[in-house]
Every structure is written in structure tokens, then in C-alpha cells.
Symmetry: C2
Subunit: 307 residues, 2 copies
């Protein structure tokens, strides 16, 4: 059996297998997790970047190109690919991780995928924990790639220093992205596949729509284009640099860390509270609500006060 | 001021403005909501259908075609369009609701869109409440159209009697859908835009992938195609009929109502518990976690026991 403190020490030494193991613990909410995370060295200041967008926009390709760009600067990079825990993510469908294989033998790169659903507190708790593991292992940059455009992505955005929303011209244009509500979490919007027709038009639409929203914290989202399949991510890198420089001004970095800490604590406590509630919910109360004899509000009130 | 009981009575009489008002109450978690919902007549047995899928697959078009098909059978139909509460959903972007306008003057059709984020308990609680309002107003069928592929959609799926996952050929194929984890919530998968190349291939891929998963409750998901823009949804209607007949066997309908009741109670109680937790979380504890002096686990434990 692996001792939590041993595992933490091996992670801190940058041992790849220990990193993989501890991220599995995060994923499973394993018994030794709390002790292991508490034994990690205090967080340094990795740059945590979230990448999100609908299926098919080229998230993995962009991630891979960013890994290459940061490696060219001599940075150590961690990649965390978040897949919903689906019966379908057993392996075969992860074929596009193959694109990552050019980095697989690079000891300056850690690549892990993580399912989320088993974790107490969901992605809002699991993602910062996994990011902290990669940070403790010496990563200067942590890239978090998510699938989909739902609540998990909002949670990941709360974790990241920079959230990049990827779009592609021609499939789900800017209006569709706005409809799906993903623009609002963007610090940077990147229209990938810029060699295709309509990329500039999509970028223009998005700029226009972003003007309708009000900037959070005073940061105004940047809109750039990329052609990641050809490794062309220079504008995206510049935007990420600009965002980082902005975060380093004043106490913005600290405010961000505090918001992240609060979100993580509430996600963990909320997850535990929900388990306690589910355990206290009786079959009789469920029947009463299902049959219309009791309202769900009254049932919820009863559940909260009986504890 | 509108009295909750008056409003409930007007909803039960099928008054469109009262339906709109009470769904707004659900959306806002208005003070009179609980009383109004408790004053509604006991639920009859509307068929609640959830429609989900990535932006661009034609959800609104399919919804509109299904409204037409059910109206042709003489059914009263409610449509609930769920938009994430985005700064961008102010109105202009809802242009594709225009397609719905052919039904807008039909008194047998109620159409409402609903934002979710303000609601205590999130979509898991708001959706069944809004569905109940439409049901009480006399709808035989309630169509719930969601945007995106995240947790909200999973919550809506838990509410619905039939969950339809829409795909389109050529944009986000079956493999992408499986990656995004949305196939697992599908009772029916519908490949829309079947007049485009690749529709049959996508349907075949999906059938193959569904064979890898294990059916929930013994229902094996159906895979059909449609060309909703031309009103061609006959296969989808047959699949929906088959699903309904299946639910009517034995106590499946009752089991489904119980699962729904439990999910709604837990969502409401969990939402309230989370607000209580957030109110008890002190600035000192946030600082301690942000500075690495206290682990998030220990902070969460402290928060749960101090109450």
C-alpha cells in the first residue's frame, strides 16, 4: 500500500508515475487523498489555463500546439483532459489523444485524463486538486481541457487563471456559442481552424457579441484566431501572456486564489452535505411527493431540519 | 400583487398569461412559488420529452416539427426552452425562436423560455416545477429543449420520460457525441438533417457505440433519423410512442415518478444547504486555504460540523 506522505514526496520530486497515481486518487476520492494533498509542498504559481468548446472545434489539437509552444520556452507543462465518466470513454474513443503522443516521451510534460463523476464535490473540487498535483510536480503551466459546454466547464473556469473558449468557423458559429452560454466564461475566445472560410467573420461576430456583455473583474475578453493543426498559435500565446501580466498586477492573483479556495471548500462541503441528505431521505417521503400528497419544498424543508 | 392560489387557479383553467407568470416565478424562485405549486391540481400524466444536443444540430427545428406532429393528433403541447442565464440571452439571439411563431397563435400550444441560474436547486428542481405548471394547464405533452451537453442536460434527462439526443451528420459525429458523454443520457438518439450526406453512417456509428454501453432500466435506446426542416419526424414520433408504451407497462411509470421526486427534493434541499454553508464560510478560513495553511478538506469538515 502506498503511504500518502511517500506519494506526496515522490510527486514533489517530479516522478511521473507518482503524479499519475495521485491524480487517480483525486479522481476516485481515495481514502489517502486528503493526507497526500496536505503533504504536498505549498503551491508555487503555475499558470492554470482552461480550454473549452463544443466537440469538433479542435481542442486536443490546440492543447497539443500550446504544449509545444510552452516547451519551446523551456516551461514544464501539465495537461489534464477531463472526460465525463461515460460508459463510452473506456479507451477506444480516446484515439485523438494520439495527437498528444509527440509529447508523450518528453519528461517535461505530464499528460493525464480524468473522469469526474465519482468525485465528491464534482469537478469544482477535483480540478483544483489535480492542478495542484501537477503544480507540485514542478509544472509551470497546467492546461485543463474539458469536453462540452455545461456546468463542469463553468466549474473549471472558476479554477483557471485563464479560460479559453474555442470556436470553429462554419460549425456552431458565434451566435450558437453565445446561445450555449459559453462566451460568458471566456477570458479569451479563440477561433481555431482559421484556414477555413468564415474564421474572420466568426471572430468579428464574437467581438460584437462580447461588447454586449459586461466584463468581469475589469478584464475585457480577447478574441484571436489559430490554426493549431499547423502549429499556428502565436496570437493565442500572446493573448495568454497578456492575461497573465494582467493577473500579476496588484492583488488580482491573490483575489483569484481566494475565490478558488472558497469555491473548492463549498464544493467539498456541499458534496458531503448532499450525501448526508440523500442518506436521510426516506422512502415514505419520496412516495408522498411522487403521489402529490406532499410538496417537494415541504419535503426539502423537513429533510434539512431533521438533521 | 398576485395571490399564489389565484394564480394556480388561472393556470389550471389554462390561461396563457398565468402560465407565463408562474413559470417566471419558478425561474426567479419567487416568494409565492411554493404556495402556488402546492395549490395546483394533482399532476395528470403529461408525456415529458427532453431534447438535447450540441448547438447547430437543429434542436429548435425538431422541437417545432414535433409540436406540429402532436398538434395534428389533437394534443395540447407545452414547450420549455432552457437557456443558461447568460448576459447574451437578452432577446436578439433568440431569433431562431421565430421558427416557433407558426405555433405562437395556436391556443393549444404554450411556449416559454426559462433561464436557470437564479433558481435554488438549479435545473434539477426548476425543470420539473415548470413541467408541472404546463401539465396543470392541460398540456398532454411537454417538450423541454436544452442548450448544451453538460450537467443541466443530465438533470433535465432525469426529469423527462423520454430523453432525445440530437446529432447532425458532418458536425460533431457520433464519436464526438460519445466523447462528450451525451449518448449515455439518451433514450432515443435522432440524427437530424438526414438529407445531408453521412446521416446513415452517423446513425450506424451510434448504434454500434450504444451496443458498448449497458441499457439503463432495461430500455435499449432507439436510433432514428429526421429531416425536421421539411417536417419529416415520423420515425422520431414512432420512437417516442414506443418509449411511452414501454413506460406504461408494469410500475415503470411509478418508478420514474419516484426517481424524479427524489431528485427534486435533493436538489432543493442541497441548494438550501449550500446557501447555508456559503453564509457560514468565514473570510479567515478562505485566507487560510488560499495561503496553504489549511487544506480545503479540513475547511469543509469544519464548515459542516460548526452548524
Amino acid at each position: 500500500m502506498t503511504e500518502p506522505e511517500d506519494l506526496a514526496a515522490r510527486v514533489a520530486a517530479g516522478e511521473a508515475r507518482a503524479v499519475a497515481r495521485l491524480i487517480s486518487w483525486v479522481e476516485d476520492g481515495a481514502p489517502g487523498l486528503q493526507d497526500a494533498l496536505e503533504a504536498l509542498p505549498s503551491p508555487s504559481a503555475a499558470y492554470v489555463i482552461g480550454l473549452t468548446g463544443s466537440p469538433g472545434v479542435g481542442k486536443s489539437t490546440v492543447t497539443s500546439a500550446l504544449v509545444g509552444a510552452y516547451r519551446a520556452r523551456g516551461k514544464r507543462v501539465g495537461v489534464l483532459a477531463i472526460d465525463p465518466s461515460s460508459p463510452f470513454t473506456g479507451g477506444a474513443l480516446l484515439g485523438d489523444r494520439i495527437r498528444m503522443q509527440e509529447h508523450a516521451t518528453d519528461t517535461g510534460v505530464f499528460i493525464r485524463s480524468m473522469a469526474s463523476r465519482g468525485h465528491l464535490g464534482g469537478m469544482a473540487a477535483a480540478t483544483p486538486q489535480a492542478a495542484r498535483v501537477l503544480e507540485a510536480a514542478g509544472c509551470d503551466v497546467v492546461l485543463i481541457e474539458t469536453v462540452g459546454v455545461g456546468q463542469s466547464e463553468v466549474d473549471v473556469a472558476a479554477t483557471a487563471d485563464a479560460t479559453v473558449v474555442l470556436l470553429a468557423p462554419g460549425m456552431g458559429d458565434g451566435v450558437q456559442a453565445a446561445k450555449a452560454g459559453i462566451l460568458e466564461v471566456a477570458d479569451i475566445v479563440c477561433v481555431n481552424k482559421a484556414d477555413r472560410e468564415g474564421a474572420e467573420a466568426t471572430a468579428r461576430d464574437v467581438r460584437q457579441m462580447l461588447r454586449l456583455g459586461s466584463p468581469v473583474d475589469g478584464w475585457e475578453p480577447l478574441v484571436v484566431t489559430s490554426t493549431a493543426a499547423r502549429g499556428e498559435v502565436a496570437d493565442l500565446m500572446s493573448a495568454l501572456d497578456e492575461r497573465r501580466a494582467w493577473l500579476d498586477q496588484g492583488d488580482r492573483g491573490r483575489q483569484r486564489r481566494r475565490a478558488r479556495a472558497a469555491a473548492e471548500i463549498l464544493a467539498l462541503a456541499g458534496g458531503r452535505a448532499r450525501i448526508q441528505l440523500a442518506e436521510s431521505l426516506s422512502s415514505d417521503v419520496i412516495d408522498a411527493v411522487a403521489d402529490g400528497r406532499l410538496s417537494s419544498f415541504a419535503a426539502a424543508d423537513g429533510l434539512l431540519t431533521q438533521r
